[in-house]
Symmetry: C2
Subunit: 355 residues, 2 copies
């Protein structure tokens, strides 16, 4: 095995020929990510088209629809009433976490496939409902874990699978930023425990958590954790969290996340015969740098790859068009909520929690 790392990732390893399309999307939620990242990505995609936007604000919906030349601008209420449902085939839900369930319920009742942002909901119980309503309605549900469709991360996973670093032993992942520095809004929904379901863990901590599951191709069996609130700014939500996941075959993952630390986002997988680091890794369209170190050498490469939300939308769309099962599905996303609840339980009770 050589140490070569591609500097460009030209292949979509998941791509299959499909008939039909494009998949016409309603984007539900017009915050920064929906408006400035997701909508342009849908425009740039091969198999998708944005045709409707849905917002709590009629004005915002109209202005974005006009800006993008879309067919339908809907309020949450109009969307819930099924207005202009003929204009779209699938729904991308990118609202505050605790609003995912009602919007998914609407989509399911309308027979629309669903791409739902992470975490799937604010609690495990509500996430379970998200999964159930989609199953009952027979619509597809994908949890929108960007890392799982990002080419470089998929490539890293393939190296781990191929044994390039031997057997995995330890995963380390950290994702933090300083939310309130430089005028960050202390009233944002991410700091509202009812809307978010938690703090740094629910927003950024799920990245190392889910990416550990993805690159190790396994699910954790136990967790121990320390989650730290810091009132008044972080009241009822964790500002910092540090948790350790036990995976089968004696593999452990140490993950941390923070709303109160300088920007850090990296992961390392150490195996019996080498290690792979990606730094930065988790932020959207990060300028990823991959290092592979083995006994007799180390290689570091700056990689280039297409915008990852384009990848994610096309991944979802081709699965829907090809009637194939979708990679990180609802059950997969639900498990992260179970782990998150176990993290908080472990921290509160000071004990390891089995999953």
């Amino acid at each position: 095995m050589n140490l070569e790392i591609p500097t460009r990732f030209a292949e979509r390893d998941w791509e299959r020929a499909v008939d039909g399309g494009p998949v016409r999307f309603a984007v539900v939620g017009l915050g920064w990510f929906g408006r400035d990242v997701a909508l342009p990505a849908i425009e740039d995609s091969e198999y998708c088209e944005a045709t409707a936007v849905v917002s709590g604000s009629a004005e915002k919906a109209s202005s974005v629809a006009e800006e993008r030349g879309l067919d339908a601008a809907l309020t949450y209420e109009e969307y819930a009433d099924g207005e202009h449902a003929e204009a779209y085939d699938a729904v991308y839900v990118v609202t505050p976490n605790a609003l995912h369930l009602p919007h998914v319920e609407t989509a399911a009742s309308l027979g629309k496939d669903v791409l739902c942002e992470k975490p799937l909901e604010a609690t495990g119980e509500r996430a379970e409902r998200v999964v159930e309503v989609c199953e009952e309605a027979g619509v597809q549900l994908m949890t929108a874990y960007r890392m799982q469709t990002t080419r470089s991360v998929r490539w890293v996973r393939e190296q781990v699978r191929a044994g390039v670093i031997g057997d995995p032993v330890q995963f380390t992942g950290e994702f933090s930023f300083n939310m309130l520095a430089g005028g960050g809004d202390p009233d944002q929904w991410r700091l509202d425990p009812d809307l978010a379901g938690g703090g740094a863990l629910m927003d950024v901590g799920v990245y190392p958590l889910n990416t550990a599951r993805f690159v190790l191709d396994a699910d954790p069996v136990a967790v121990h954790a320390t989650a730290i609130e810091n009132p008044p700014a972080f009241d009822g939500v964790d500002e910092h969290v540090a948790f350790t996941l036990a995976f089968p075959d004696d593999v452990t993952a140490q993950c941390s996340a923070s709303y109160g630390a300088s920007g850090a986002n990296h992961m390392t997988i150490v195996g019996t015969e080498g290690r792979i680091t990606v730094d930065p890794v988790f932020d959207v369209d990060a300028d990823r740098q991959i290092t592979i170190a083995r006994d007799h050498g180390e290689t570091t490469v700056d990689v280039a790859e297409p915008p990852e939300m384009v990848e994610e939308f096309d991944f979802f769309a081709t699965a829907v068009l090809g009637e194939r099962d979708i990679g990180p599905d609802g059950e997969h996303g639900l498990l992260d909520l179970r782990v998150a609840e176990a993290v908080y339980e472990s921290s509160d009770e000071g004990r390891r929690v089995d999953l």
Copy 2:
């Protein structure tokens, strides 16, 4: 504050003028580290001289003494009997962990100051005795944590203290190697629970543990941990360990160590306004690379510094000659044994252990 990182560390920030010397050392234990690292370092030092060597094997003691032109070659028994005690002023103990106590007892009874390798002993109880016998005899005791006298690591600590990364939030440290790959000896004392007191944690895990304490300038208040044995090779000793330390002021440290993973040794301190990474950091005379990242820039520098065991011996010797208290003293080293015992207790019982 600028981002400049020195590429050379010309200063000994701890150095003070002293009278007398050199401090004449008996090196007790002639394994790889004692023979090939410590003895040459003493020769290269400014304030120390090696005058005696002590080994379980009379032949090895004689051949090393001859090779180095030393005055005294002693067996463990001759050393315990105080033979040639006039030939040395201080003792450097670098034997298997569970032999530290008797050798320190001898040194104390002879009125010799002691530099004792880490961990201080194989158990907390025995480490406590090490501290007591030195106190009772009125001799100095330093726990030989290389990192605390390594110039680059001391410099990093100063940056943290000076607020270069704001307030520390999270420490991450990992030290692992594949002990049995490539013909490693499965019968070595480090795999004997009675001699070592534990596995990867006791040997390499104490590096991230103690270095976290050092750079954060604080002691942990609680720990949760997962330690994994893997019989038959790792029976009664941990092959892998992952532990999280809670420090005051909501700072956490995630540390891992392994005897069964490819070489990894690095640390990162993330603060409210930046982060510092040293990679590699923990192996002896590592080619350290320091990265400091803050909001508006990142700098990485390969640093050069003197052999660190030379630094450590001179640090010890000038404290002894100057009759000053010694940085990482016996109590400091004892605390790591308390933490190590708490790590194993946490792992066995599946709960957070307060310290």
